[in-house]
């Protein structure tokens, strides 16, 4: 299939994948002497689940950081929705509808689960300082409106019973789930997930997969996903980018990637079942 074609197509399981929403062009990112990303280009299409895989230290997380504006690449361009993105602060990127989760959980430890998820909606809350200081009226109404949205997500992710718990006390796996909830609360166009299933057992991974698929399906959210569990990657993703030592060594459908010798050598070891 032609990567650059703007046309949409329909997947075997009946989802519609649209045109390219985000395109990375010749990205190079260096930290002093370390080259984290070397001249990588790839694109993400509307509505697809795009996986990024590769050995440890390949530069996957760095790539997500470039997309969310936290790292500024030395070379290359980021195109979003058909236009070149100027240099942006991370919060501006978030304002464009890109939300994410983090590899080393980055929840706000001092707040409850509910408040953490509510922070996901901050880009959407518009009342000013003055009306918030007075609370009754606009601010309260807005709060309740958004609270309702958040409650939907809480229901969706089945974390009702920990709503008021401070996140610091949660076990690892639940924290990951709360992070996903926070990202979902932003109602993103593009959702970036960095190892959402690390530290989970199969059952929990299944749950997580279900959430990811549902988000993609119900809201049409485009998802870019980093994951080391090949089973998950192969099952969920539409297309996979493989990185190694900062370089792209493969890009294509799961099956294509699975058969790619370079990928097998660098990452998969033996062909995965």
């Amino acid at each position: 299939m032609n990567d650059m074609s703007p046309d949409s197509y329909v997947t075997p399981d009946g989802r519609t994948i649209g045109g390219v929403v985000m395109e990375m062009k010749n990205i190079t990112l260096r930290f002093g002497g370390v080259v984290a990303i070397k001249d990588i280009s790839f694109d993400i299409r509307e509505g697809e689940i795009r996986a990024i895989i590769g050995p440890n230290g390949a530069g996957k997380s760095s790539m997500l950081n470039v997309i969310s504006g936290f790292y500024v690449p030395q070379e290359g361009e980021v195109w979003f929705r058909g236009s070149k993105r100027p240099q942006m602060k991370p919060y501006e990127v978030a304002g464009q509808g890109i939300a994410r989760t983090f590899q080393n959980i980055a929840l706000f430890d001092g707040m409850s689960v509910l408040d953490n998820i509510m922070t996901g909606r901050l880009t959407k809350m518009k009342t000013g300082l003055a009306s918030q200081a007075l609370w009754f009226g606009r601010a309260e109404r807005e709060e309740i409106e958004h609270r309702e949205q958040v409650e939907k997500i809480i229901d969706f992710l089945e974390i009702q019973n920990i709503r008021k718990t401070p996140v610091g006390r949660l076990p690892y796996g639940l924290k990951k789930r709360v992070e996903l909830a926070r990202a979902l609360a932003a109602e993103p166009k593009l959702l970036l997930l960095d190892e959402p299933m690390a530290g989970m057992n199969v059952e929990e991974k299944e749950d997580m997969s279900r959430f990811i698929l549902d988000v993609n399906d119900e809201f049409g959210t485009t998802i870019a996903l980093i994951e080391h569990d090949m089973g998950v990657v192969m099952d969920l993703s539409d297309r996979v980018v493989v990185m190694d030592y900062g370089k792209k060594i493969g890009d294509g459908t799961p099956d294509e990637v699975r058969g790619n010798q370079a990928v097998i050598d660098a990452y998969l070891g033996v062909a995965h079942d």
Partner: protein
């Protein structure tokens, strides 16, 4: 040379010397911060306490005499002996080790793995406690500290420069002594923290208490060690400053002079303390000399902080501080 320039040079030299004195105080902060991430508010009070103890031991003062007299109606003040300076310094150092042990045993041990601000707060509690304790133990009067350090203008420099420029520079002998001591301290402490096993452990502790525990570093030992060294540094600072002004409560306020130094040099860098000290010393003295008269003087206090602030805007971790790691 024009007079104004000569004066400026003299001011600069004295600024350097003052900077060394600030650095001596800052060193204590750096050590403890480096080893546990604790911003030790009590450092100034430790200097006071050490100096009080030194004088008390030297003069054979009876500790808690005030309290004893009040309770038992006695009238004891002095043991009537006089301890030589070197011995007194050693004994005081021993007291500071004991102090470090007590702090670890009764405070720090219970606060492992707490955020920095809580630990900071604990040192404030400690400072309060020691303030009362020091007064109770040794009395609140001003004491004369004399361990035989030279003091006053250095004749040689005065004469030499007079012969050269027709204007004799003023350099205080005490400052020269302080510089020598500071250089020795900085060099040895830098070597210790960068190249010894304990030094590495100490930096590990500052990063992550739990992880340090998990690899078998004994926080207790490290803390006693560091607080002992910091206590010793406090003693040195106490001697230098106490020689200038007598030993009294205000000695604890020298901490405020050390903070900008700390900021500028970096909280975690031992050489940073000395470099920061020099910059602050020269900066504030020159500013007072050049600009002070225009704005009414007494600018040194705030100027030191503003100078440090300006540096930080460009290097948020200070000159030599460890870079603040920002990652997700």
């Amino acid at each position: 040379m024009p007079d104004q320039l000569l004066f400026a040079i003299e001011v600069t030299l004295n600024g350097l010397m003052a900077g060394v004195l600030y650095a001596l105080v800052a060193l204590g902060f750096v050590l403890i911060f480096k080893a546990s991430g604790i911003f030790n508010y009590a450092q100034g009070v430790m200097a006071l306490f050490a100096a009080l103890t030194l004088v008390g031991i030297q003069d054979g003062q009876v500790p808690f005499s005030h309290l004893i007299n009040a309770i038992f109606g006695t009238d004891v003040h002095h043991f009537g002996w006089h301890v030589p300076a070197v011995l007194a310094i050693l004994l005081t150092a021993a007291v500071m080790v004991l102090f470090a042990w007590i702090v670890e045993r009764y405070v720090l041990r219970h606060l492992v793995n707490q955020p920095g601000i809580i630990l900071f707060m604990a040192t404030i509690g400690l400072a309060y406690f020691m303030e009362g304790f020091g007064d109770l133990m040794w009395g609140a009067d001003i004491k004369n500290l004399d361990v035989g350090l030279p003091q006053g203008i250095n004749e040689t420099i005065d004469e030499t420069t007079y012969n050269w420029f027709g204007y004799g520079f003023f350099i205080d002998n005490l400052d020269i002594a302080a510089t020598i001591v500071a250089v020795i301290l900085v060099v040895s402490l830098t070597l210790f923290s960068q190249y010894s096993k304990q030094g590495r452990a100490l930096r590990a502790v500052a990063d992550d208490h739990q992880a340090a525990l998990s690899v078998g570093i004994s926080l207790r030992f490290i803390w006693v060690l560091v607080w002992s060294i910091a206590g010793f540094v406090a003693l040195v600072a106490g001697i230098m400053w106490g020689s200038k002004s007598g030993v009294q409560f205000s000695l604890s306020l020298i901490a405020l002079k050390a903070l900008p130094v700390l900021m500028l040099g970096g909280f975690t860098s031992i050489p940073g303390a000395i470099v920061g000290g020099l910059i602050i010393g020269v900066g504030e003295k020159l500013f007072e000399f050049l600009i002070g008269p225009l704005v009414g003087g007494a600018t040194e206090n705030w100027f030191a902080y503003v100078l440090a602030l300006l540096f930080l805007v460009f290097r948020p971790q200070g000159l030599f501080g460890e870079k603040i790691i920002e990652r997700v």
